[in-house]
Symmetry: C3
Subunit: 299 residues, 3 copies
């Protein structure tokens, strides 16, 4: 038997209505053996950035050949394109509105096809539910083996969100932003490990004090960087969230006491501010888009 193809669904349709079930019905009518896996349907309505974040942090955990369908589509029915993007390992079927913004830097696109061939749509597609009338049947046909090129013509333009990148502010701090807050209230930033390493190299090495002057204890984590010389071993970071500061970098939530805040690199590789068995969003009273500042020093 042919290995069943996986189709993932990521939408802002919620779990209250029948919209997701209807898409699955359409898919199953065309390709009964497809294995449909939900990534999430609780993207806040029309929130493309959250969709982009969840897609970018999940797509590569699926087997090669998976068809990723994402429908967060505030401009449904307008002139925005639906595109099928072909990478080495995956197919993405999305509105051309930035949903792939966080993926294109790491996953090389081979082709971008504007989906226009109505042969693969439901008859008489509506103007308001392309998930049902276009995305679902096209994904099903892709899982049956049609080529992206059969869906329409190649285009060059992939729309991207203007997502802020971390940078240095006037005080010499690395300044990032909260780009996603998860169910547990964890504040996930746009700061990746390489930004912090760059920060270390830029900022800290020139000022490294002699080892003997470093304080011991009181630190909840130290940052070791990629440098093997041990120079940073007793250096640590200070993170500013709202008006509060957190010293140190942890490896896991339980490195601090229950209800205490911490900073770590989360499972998706981004710097994350958390509260052990608590909710950092409530603790810090911050929201998506707010700034997070990181600086290095000896404490």
């Amino acid at each position: 038997m042919r290995r069943p193809c996986i189709i993932t669904l990521l939408t802002d349709f919620g779990n209250q209505d029948a919209y997701v079930g209807i898409m699955k019905g359409v898919i199953a009518g065309i390709t009964p053996l497809a294995n449909i896996i939900d990534i999430s349907h609780n993207i806040p309505p029309q929130d493309i950035l959250s969709g982009a974040y969840l897609l970018a942090t999940s797509y590569k955990y699926f087997p090669k050949g998976t068809i990723h369908v994402a429908v967060v589509d505030p401009s449904v029915g307008s002139q925005r394109d639906i595109i099928c993007v072909d990478t080495r390992d995956y197919l993405f079927l999305v509105p051309n509105n930035g949903l792939l913004s966080l993926i294109v830097s790491e996953e090389k696109t081979k082709n971008i096809i504007r989906v226009t061939n109505s042969k693969y749509f439901l008859p008489s597609p509506s103007n308001t539910f392309h998930g049902r009338d276009i995305f679902a049947p096209v994904a099903a046909h892709l899982s049956l083996g049609i080529k992206p090129q059969q869906l329409g013509v190649r285009i060059d333009q992939l729309d991207q969100l203007d997502i802020p990148k971390p940078g240095f502010n006037k005080k010499g701090q690395l300044e990032g932003r909260i780009i996603y807050i998860d169910r547990f209230g964890n504040l996930i930033t746009n700061i990746k490990r390489e930004h912090l390493e760059q920060h270390l190299l830029n900022l800290v090495i020139p000022h490294t004090p002699p080892q003997s002057s470093l304080k011991k204890g009181g630190l909840r984590g130290t940052y070791q960087g990629e440098d093997k010389r041990g120079l940073f071993l007793h250096k640590t970071i200070k993170t500013t969230v709202g008006r509060k500061k957190i010293v140190g970098l942890c490896k896991t939530y339980t490195d601090v006491k229950t209800r205490e805040p911490l900073v770590l690199f989360g499972s998706a590789g981004f710097l994350e501010v958390s509260v052990n068995q608590g909710n950092a969003r409530e603790y810090f009273r911050v929201d998506r888009g707010n700034k997070i500042m990181v600086e290095m020093g000896s404490y």
Copy 2:
């Protein structure tokens, strides 16, 4: 291999508890190859009308032979019947409480069977969880090929909800009601395209002004009806929701500016009041059951 049979589930069991998972476990124990698809489990508790709406707007997007199981069952354990309804293309397994009210007008029933044959139930069924003890195992056995007639005897009576139909009020307006509000806050009414066309014919044709007197611009949409003569081309509708009025009929949400209200025929064929990238329920401060008035005119 036999094409796997699809069983859909629509309940008010929510996603918090294990009730839905338990039903799936029971089904999988009897028919491991069944393809179970969730329509929704977040029907408000005991809200038969919402269940009826979601079932009616989704069932036909599933392939022929699908078994639709709906458990919104405020009278579980009482004398209410469980019925298996056989139509040309589908089987429905539901409590006889009105859940099929919006389907019977369009899907001709062949047989209605009162489900009583405990051979297909779990042993010692409880009085409070028929989803687990009756609906799930019966659906599984149906997917294995037993005939509805093996479940019990034919009955004639299909209970139906008393759902208001749109009609004309004293002012000559078409008066409908909000029958469902979706996750996006869209206000879905009981007014279908044919009601509006009927309204057009009754009300507008006699008063059609000469084309030259029609204002241009300022309209966000015009209604063209089925009439090919172009008579209504510059006519449009005015919809009253609460104390507010919306002029025109749109094709899709983005026909108006962001955060502006609009009226269109939604993907299920009902007249729908929306706010582009906003929430019409909050915008208009209305709720299910509230009236919506539509009238035709030149503006």
Copy 3:
């Protein structure tokens, strides 16, 4: 074809983020034919007791050979063990933190294996998302037929929650506690049928009045026990919840009028306080952990 193995998932990951979808992607990459069934992902964050309750009330409705994976794991990344517990009919893969507390009394464990063999993990597991990096791939490999013993070494210690048991208070009442509140607001207690039967035997038989003195009518249910002699036929129970009392024991919700409270044994076998088509949590203004008192008598 080999019967597809079922893997169930029970987590506190919610439906908002991609965490559950990612786990399914990892599983599907290893064992594409596995049938993954969600029990629930909406356990309140870190609420092991709710997880234990839902697992205990659902696991046995799945076919033999099912692999039950539960990830409610406040100590992820710490020294807590991940264990694979082998019973006659099922495999459980859980953190060793009490999630099996309500199961071990009824399901005899054959082996408890501490899962340490990283050959079955994703490469470079994170410290914060063992669901993705350990639980998912290990479950997938188990479904392919590896033995629990291949995952690590046997241990003896199964951590258990300290769950209160019902007992008699000074007034001679059976005193239990609310251990779970479901979506409908039903108050599920730790009182099982056998506790009430024991209570009956201890308390009621000595005081059984002559049948002729029993009042008739006004009772919403009588408790018949296992005793065939009919002695208890006209006895009933009085249940105290907060400051309110409920007389009688019902068989199903509709034994009382709409919006009236009742007591019954729920579908999982626990004494449950409900409101017919209402919400007992709101009606009684109680919460999990609150006491419920039951006494027998003639009324």
